[in-house]
C-alpha cells in the first residue's frame, strides 16, 4: 500500500486530516528549500509536496511563478529535487514531488522514478499529466513503488473522475476552485461536492488544494477532505520576508495556524 495513504489513514485514526505543504525546490536557494521544508514539518505539516521549478508553470498563479522563476535564475536544477527529497525524507512526513511533465520526460520517466524512490520520495503529483497520457509513468511508478497523484476538478465528468480515481495512488488532488494556484478569500462551495463525487467515483483518499490560506479555511476543508493542500500562502511568507530567517519564522507561524485549523477540523462544533 502507498506510504502516503497509510499516513493519511493514521492521521484519520487520530481524528484529523493531513496538512499538505507545498514548497518549491531551490527557493530561496537549494539549502534554503531544505530549511523551509524542515520548518514546515516542525510546525505541523504532515505531508510535503516539493515543487520542481519549471519555466512554464501553467497551473501556478503569480506567487509560485515568482518563486520558481527566482529558483531557476539562481540555478536550481531538476537533480536538486532529488537531493532535497533525500535530505527531508526521513522526518516523518511523506515527501511527494510536484512537477510539470517535460522535466520528467527529459530526465527519463523510469530513471526519475528510480532515483526518486532511491532518495526516499513517496511519489509524484503531476500538474499537466492526465492518466490518458501516463502509461509510461504508471508503469514506472508501479515498478518503483511510488504514489501517483492526479488531479480532479469541478469540470470533471463522472467518467473522468473514475479514470483519475482508478489511476491514482496515495490520494487524488481535488482542485477545489476552477483556477490556478493562489490565495483566495473563499475556497468555494464546489470543493465539498467535488470531494464527494470523487469518493463516489472510487477514490480512497482525496486532498483539496488551490485556494486555502488560513486556519479557518483549513478547518472548513479538513472537515470533509483527507488532506488540505496549501502552497501559495506558505511560499508567500518566504517571498515577502526581508531575510531568510524572517521568512522561516513567518513560514513556521503560518504553518502552525494551518495545522491548528486542520487539528480542529473534525472536532464537534
Amino acid at each position: 500500500m502507498s506510504s502516503t495513504a497509510r499516513h493519511l489513514d493514521a492521521l484519520a485514526a487520530q481524528g484529523r486530516p493531513a496538512l499538505v505543504a507545498y514548497l518549491p525546490v531551490g527557493f530561496p536557494s537549494v539549502p534554503g528549500s531544505v530549511d523551509a521544508v524542515r520548518t514546515a514539518i516542525d510546525a505541523g505539516a504532515d505531508v510535503v509536496e516539493l515543487g520542481v521549478p519549471y519555466t512554464d508553470p501553467v497551473m501556478d498563479g503569480p506567487v509560485i511563478q515568482r518563486a520558481v522563476d527566482l529558483a531557476l535564475r539562481r540555478g536550481a536544477r531538476v537533480r536538486d529535487s532529488l537531493a532535497v527529497v533525500e535530505q527531508v525524507a526521513g522526518l516523518g512526513a511523506p515527501v511527494l514531488v510536484m512537477t510539470y511533465w517535460n522535466v520528467v520526460l527529459r530526465y527519463g520517466v523510469d530513471a526519475y522514478a528510480r532515483d526518486l524512490a532511491a532518495a526516499g520520495g513517496a511519489g509524484l503529483v503531476t500538474a499537466d499529466l492526465i492518466p490518458d497520457e501516463a502509461d509510461e509513468w504508471i508503469a514506472a511508478s508501479d515498478a518503483h513503488g511510488l504514489d501517483r497523484v492526479f488531479l480532479v476538478a469541478p469540470s470533471c465528468t463522472p467518467e473522468r473522475l473514475e479514470l483519475v480515481a482508478r489511476s491514482s495512488r496515495g490520494f487524488v488532488y481535488a482542485a477545489s476552485t476552477m483556477g490556478v494556484t493562489g490565495v483566495r478569500s473563499s475556497v468555494g462551495t464546489h470543493a465539498e461536492t467535488l470531494v464527494t463525487r470523487t469518493r463516489d467515483a472510487g477514490a480512497q483518499h482525496v486532498c483539496v488544494g488551490l485556494g486555502v490560506s488560513t486556519g479557518e479555511q483549513a478547518a472548513e476543508v479538513g472537515a470533509y477532505a483527507d488532506g488540505v493542500i496549501v502552497g501559495s500562502a506558505l511560499v508567500r511568507t518566504l517571498l515577502d520576508a526581508p531575510t531568510t530567517n524572517d521568512g522561516l519564522d513567518a513560514l513556521a507561524q503560518v504553518t502552525s495556524q494551518l495545522a491548528a485549523g486542520v487539528s480542529r477540523a473534525r472536532s464537534a462544533s
Binding site: 519549471y54 501553467v58 517535460n102 520526460l105 492526465i130 492526479f150 469540470s155
Partner: protein, 413 residues
C-alpha cells in the same frame, strides 16, 4: 500512441501524429477540450455551419484570396522558375489568421460561451480574434508578451480599437510562449464561460487538427487557382513555420501528392546558439510544451529555452505536432532562415512586386530564393512552379523594417 498507417495525410486525425501531439494539460481543461472536439466534429458535417463559414469567408474576409504571379521576384529565384504567391496578406485583418478565428468563433456560440481569450505574438492572431469577437458579439481578452507589445505597438492599439482587452504579460521571457501560459491560466479559471481561441496548429487535441482544417482552405484554393492558371500542380510549396498554421494550411492540399515537394522555413534568428533563434527542427528535440509533444527548444533539464526572431510571429520554442510527424516522416523539409536572409527577401519583394510582406512570410520568400539556387531536389521540369504562401502583410512591420534598413531620417534608425 499510434496513427493509422494508411489513409490520407490531409485528414490525419488527432490526438496523435505518430509520437507527437496528445493532451498534456491540467485535468480541469479536459472537459472543455472534449466539448470542443465534440462540437467541432458535429459542426463540420453540419451544412448550416459550413454555409455560414463559407459566407463569412466571402463577404467578410474577401475569400478566395488571389493567387498572384510574381515574375520580377521570380527572376531572382532562377531562370524559368515560375513563382506564385498565395495572397493571405489580402484577407481582412491582414493575414491567414482570420480563417481560423472565424471557424472557432462560430463554434463558440454553439458551446454557449460568451468570452474569448487568445495569445498573440506579432499581434496578427490577436487582431483577428478581437475582430471575430467584435463581429460575433463576444468579450475578448488577448495576452501578449510585453516584448511583443513594444515591437508591435500598433497592433495593440488595433485590438483595443476593436474592443478587446490587451494584457501585457510580464513574466518569463515576455514573449509568445508566456502569453500562451497566461491564456491557459485564464482558461483554466474561466472555462465555463470562456473559449481559448488558440491561433495555431499546436496545443492539446483537438487544436492541431481543428486549426489545420480551418486553414486548409489556403491550399485548396491555391491548388484550384494554380490548376486554372497553369493546368498543373506546383513542383514545390514554401511556407514559414512558427506554430505552423499557415504552413499546414497551404501544405494540406498537397500532402498526398508525392510529386509536390514541401518546404517549411523556421526562424534561424541571428545564429543557431541557444536563445538566438526559433529553429526547433534544426536545434531542438522532442518534448512537451503547452499541451502537445513536439520538437522543442529545451535545455538538459527540460526547461524551455528562450527563442529569438526578427519576426514576432515565428518567435516560439515549439511547433505543431503534425509538423513534427511530417518532419520525421521526411514528407516536409524544414530549414532555418536567418533574420538577415529574411529581411533581404522582404526588401526584394517590396521592390520587385510592390508587395510589403509580413516579416514572417519573408522567411518563406527567402526559402524560395534558396530553393532557386538548387532546384535539383524539387523541380520536375525546366519551368518549375513554386508556390509561396504569403501568410500576412507587412504593415505591422514597417517600423521594424525601417529601423533594420536605416530608413528613418530623424536619427531613430
Amino acid at each position: 500512441m499510434t496513427v493509422p498507417a494508411d489513409g490520407p495525410l490531409a485528414t490525419a486525425p488527432g490526438p496523435y501524429f505518430g509520437a507527437y501531439g496528445g493532451r498534456f494539460v491540467p485535468e480541469p481543461l479536459v472537459a472543455a477540450l472534449d466539448e470542443l472536439d465534440d462540437v467541432y466534429h458535429k459542426a463540420i458535417v453540419d451544412p448550416v455551419f459550413t454555409a455560414e463559414l463559407r459566407r463569412l469567408h466571402q463577404v467578410y474576409s474577401g475569400r478566395p484570396s488571389p493567387l498572384t504571379p510574381v515574375p520580377r521576384f521570380a527572376a531572382h529565384v532562377g531562370d524559368g522558375v515560375q513563382v506564385f504567391c498565395k495572397r493571405e496578406d489580402l484577407n481582412h485583418t491582414g493575414s491567414h489568421k482570420i480563417n481560423n478565428v472565424l471557424g472557432q468563433g462560430l463554434l463558440v456560440a454553439r458551446m454557449g460561451k460568451t468570452r474569448l481569450v487568445a495569445e498573440t505574438g506579432a499581434g496578427q492572431h490577436g487582431v483577428a480574434t478581437a475582430t471575430a469577437a467584435a463581429l460575433l458579439g463576444l468579450e475578448c481578452t488577448v495576452y501578449m508578451g510585453e516584448v511583443d507589445t513594444v515591437r508591435q505597438a500598433l497592433n495593440v492599439a488595433r485590438m483595443r480599437l476593436l474592443g478587446a482587452e490587451v494584457v501585457a504579460v510580464k513574466v518569463g521571457t515576455r514573449t509568445l510562449k508566456d502569453a500562451i501560459n497566461e491564456a491557459l491560466r485564464d482558461w483554466v479559471a474561466h472555462v465555463d464561460t470562456t473559449h481559448y481561441l488558440l491561433g495555431t496548429v499546436t496545443g492539446p487535441h483537438p487544436f492541431p487538427q481543428m486549426v489545420r482544417d480551418f486553414q486548409s482552405i489556403i491550399g485548396e484554393e491555391a491548388r484550384a487557382q494554380l490548376a486554372q492558371e497553369t493546368g498543373r500542380l506546383p513542383d514545390a510549396v514554401a511556407a514559414c513555420v512558427g506554430g505552423g498554421s499557415n504552413a499546414m494550411g497551404v501544405f494540406n492540399a498537397f500532402l498526398d501528392e508525392p510529386s509536390v515537394s514541401l518546404y517549411g522555413f523556421e526562424a534561424g534568428g541571428t545564429d543557431l546558439d541557444p536563445g538566438h533563434h526559433a529553429a526547433r527542427f534544426a536545434a531542438g528535440d522532442p518534448g512537451v510544451l503547452h499541451g502537445a509533444r513536439s520538437y522543442l527548444l529545451q535545455d538538459d533539464d527540460g526547461q524551455t529555452l528562450g527563442s529569438h526572431s526578427v519576426s514576432a510571429g515565428l518567435d516560439y520554442p515549439s511547433v505543431g505536432p503534425q509538423h513534427a510527424w511530417l518532419h520525421d516522416a521526411g514528407r516536409v523539409t524544414y530549414a532555418p532562415v536567418s533574420d538577415a536572409e529574411a529581411m533581404d527577401a522582404f526588401r526584394l519583394l517590396c521592390r520587385t512586386e510592390g508587395i510589403i510582406p509580413a516579416i514572417e512570410s519573408a522567411h518563406a520568400l527567402a526559402g524560395a530564393l534558396r530553393l532557386g539556387a538548387d532546384r535539383s531536389a524539387w523541380a520536375t521540369t525546366d519551368n518549375p512552379i513554386l508556390l509561396v504562401n504569403l501568410s500576412g502583410r507587412g504593415d505591422k512591420d514597417v517600423d521594424t523594417a525601417a529601423r533594420w534598413f536605416g530608413l528613418l531620417d530623424d536619427g531613430q534608425g
